[in-house]
């Protein structure tokens, strides 16, 4: 049998169907919007981060150092005041020194894939037109493991670079701009004055116009020759099985090999903080919706308490404790909150279903339909449920406490 407080609470609620329905609607709508907005925001955030993670290296080891190294004299006499004038720095080929050994170390680490890359700027000439380009020298087998470039190939292949050492893979933007085609030759010139004719063996399309116009891939050996950096690479691109370990692994690599290792998290700190701000705004808005709904419950329970002061007085005169009275009205809030949260969860699911069916056509990308990214994880349902329940319990507790404090004699004296 139902506990007595619950039984009284249910009777009170059923006696005020319209008022209860209004309060219930507030909680249902609040919870539903909480879930739908949260699903949308978190979905878009996850989609954004996934794109960020997929399209950029989880860790990039570059041929830079976080802080400039000490001069030999300062290293030799660390306590001394050293002043050397007219120092002529040693000229050295840029890049990661002894990269094969360092690459072996990185490859020995678990749950990651690494590709060495030599990147440099070149100038492209074709039919009298000139275009700057970032040329990446890669090993096709390893670069396919750490980037999505292979998936973006729309003609030819990356592997064709291995078969043709003078091959180049360029973006569709460049193909369109220079009216090029597969198999055509391009003249590539470096700042050192070297010029080489390369044959287009592959075309990619990432959807990023700037990238598609200004990036090109050649064989690593070809890039080393062209850029005059024999046996050097200037980047390791590392992909992890768990991208969220990037910061920790980057720190480990940097400590070991000395070169600057930047995780995607560090590189995107500004974006991540932007997402955080966006989340704070989003949760503030949806919590405000729930708070407004909670005021509806507060209002309902307050009204019931006010209407029921005589009942409270008689119950107390019979021998009900103050906590029994409080439990009755809190139970009323909990019932409304529980029904509202469950109804809100269902309505939220419905809203998510509707939002999930909305498709967006991306301009200039015929055939590509994008759906709103939604996060359907259970934890946001739990979060919405918890917030709704906390709000309703607090909203009902305040008037319930007031009701519990009713002094029966005060009411009985004035009653007629």
């Amino acid at each position: 049998m139902m506990p007595l407080a619950l039984r009284i609470a249910v009777t009170h609620i059923l006696a005020r169907k319209r008022q209860t329905l209004v309060s219930l609607s507030g909680i249902v709508l609040g919870t539903a919007f909480f879930i739908a907005v949260s699903a949308l925001m978190r979905g878009s955030e996850q989609d954004f981060i996934r794109r960020l993670i997929d399209n950029s290296a989880h860790i990039t080891v570059s041929d830079d150092f976080r802080s400039a190294g000490l001069q030999p004299a300062a290293e030799r006499w660390p306590e001394a005041v050293v002043a050397i004038r007219g120092v002529k720095p040693q000229r050295e080929v840029r890049g990661i020194r002894n990269y094969r050994e360092k690459l072996r170390y990185v490859e020995s680490l678990p749950d990651l894939r690494v590709a060495p890359v030599l990147t440099g700027s070149v100038v492209l000439t074709f039919a009298g037109r000139v275009q700057g380009m970032t040329l990446s020298g890669v090993i096709p087998a390893t670069i396919a493991d750490v980037t999505t470039i292979e998936e973006k190939i729309v003609a030819g292949s990356l592997d064709a670079l291995a078969a043709n050492p003078n091959g180049i893979v360029v973006g569709q933007g460049l193909i369109g701009k220079f009216r090029l085609a597969m198999g055509r030759n391009l003249a590539v010139a470096t700042s050192e004055g070297a010029v080489r004719t390369l044959k287009i063996v592959g075309i990619f399309r990432t959807g990023n116009a700037a990238y598609d116009e200004t990036q090109g891939y050649v064989l690593l050996k070809r890039a080393q020759t062209l850029l005059d950096r024999p046996n050097r690479v200037n980047r390791f691109i590392i992909q992890l099985d768990d991208p969220y370990r990037a910061r920790e692994v980057a720190r480990q690599i940097e400590q070991r090999i000395g070169y600057k290792s930047v995780s995607w998290i560090e590189a995107s700190e500004d974006i991540m903080s932007l997402l955080l701000v966006r989340n704070i705004i989003m949760y503030t808005v949806v919590i405000a919706i729930l708070l407004v709904a909670a005021f509806g419950i507060y209002n309902t329970i307050s009204t019931i308490v006010m209407e029921k002061t005589r009942d409270i007085a008689i119950l107390k005169s019979m021998g009900f404790h103050a906590r029994d009275i409080r439990n009755i009205f809190v139970a009323e809030g909990v019932i409304v909150g529980l029904c509202g949260s469950l109804g809100g969860a269902l309505a939220g699911l419905g809203l998510m279903h509707v939002l999930g069916r909305i498709s967006i056509r991306v301009p200039d990308m015929p055939g590509d339909l994008t759906h709103l990214p939604l996060d359907r994880s259970l934890d946001q349902f739990m979060l919405a449920f918890a917030f709704a329940m906390i709000a309703t319990i607090v909203a009902s507790f305040l008037p319930a406490r007031k009701g519990a404090r009713v002094h029966p004699v005060t009411i009985l004296r004035g009653a007629t």
Partner: protein
């Protein structure tokens, strides 16, 4: 007969800029199975005394002993427990819970006490309603009953937990003469046939005439010499029993 309720030097003062004394130095003893009427002019403190004796209000000073238990140091919850087990209340207004049926109203104090399981409590409720001539009305809501019927249900509810003492605050004040006579008869029967102790506040001299004893109260003080004019011919004296 043994005393069921003993009050000694009760004083109840409402605090304020000008404190108001509701009850001043009231002492009385009420025996088991006694029917006591409290009378006095309006505002004399009759209801205040009843609320103190019913442990609904707490005296500013003095002590109350119920069934041999000194309640002076009891907190709010213990006083509520004593009310639940040993006292039953009937008020001028019936105070039945409007959304509940007659049966549910009866069950509330019984289920709160938890002495009986729900089925046994329902059986007892039906028995009490029958005793008061209200069988057949258990499924009705208070709004479907007449004033006299509601008051009879209120009396049945007051009897729900088989209390030692029934305290009634002008229980016939809102009733027509027929219903009032009926309620008076019921209260008298409870004393005579069921051994209950009844303490009632009333303005009705005829009702007070049915009581075993009359306690007169004037300006918050028990007045042993106060006799309402209409009762003088029948010779009932307004005297509290000394301990």
């Amino acid at each position: 007969m043994s005393a069921v309720l003993v009050a000694e030097n009760l004083r109840r003062t409402l605090p304020g800029v000008v404190p108001v004394t509701l009850i001043d130095d009231a002492s009385l003893v009420i025996d088991r199975g006694e029917f006591v009427a409290i009378m006095g002019p309006s505002g004399s403190g009759k209801s205040s005394l009843l609320y103190l004796l019913g442990l609904l209000d707490v005296p500013t000073s003095g002590r109350i002993e119920l069934d041999g238990e000194d309640t002076t140091a009891f907190d709010e919850n213990r006083l509520a427990d004593v009310r639940l087990r040993k006292l039953g209340f009937v008020f001028q207004f019936h105070f039945l819970l409007a959304e509940f049926t007659v049966l549910d109203n009866m069950l509330l104090p019984m289920l709160r006490l938890g002495r009986l399981d729900p089925q046994a409590a329902a059986e007892r409720a039906h028995g009490l309603l029958a005793l008061l001539g209200m069988d057949g009305h258990s499924h009705k809501r208070p709004g479907q009953l007449s004033g006299g019927q509601r008051q009879r249900v209120a009396i049945a509810r007051a009897l729900a937990n088989d209390p030692l003492v029934i305290l009634a605050d002008e229980p016939t004040g809102n009733l027509d003469s027929h219903s009032a006579a009926n309620v008076q008869k019921i209260l008298r029967t409870l004393v005579d046939e069921h051994g209950k102790t009844v303490i009632t506040v009333t303005h009705d001299a005829a009702f007070a005439g049915r009581a075993d004893r009359l306690i007169g109260i004037v300006d918050g003080r028990i007045d042993p010499h106060w006799v309402p004019p209409t009762l003088a011919p029948v010779g009932i004296q307004a005297t509290p029993k000394s301990q």
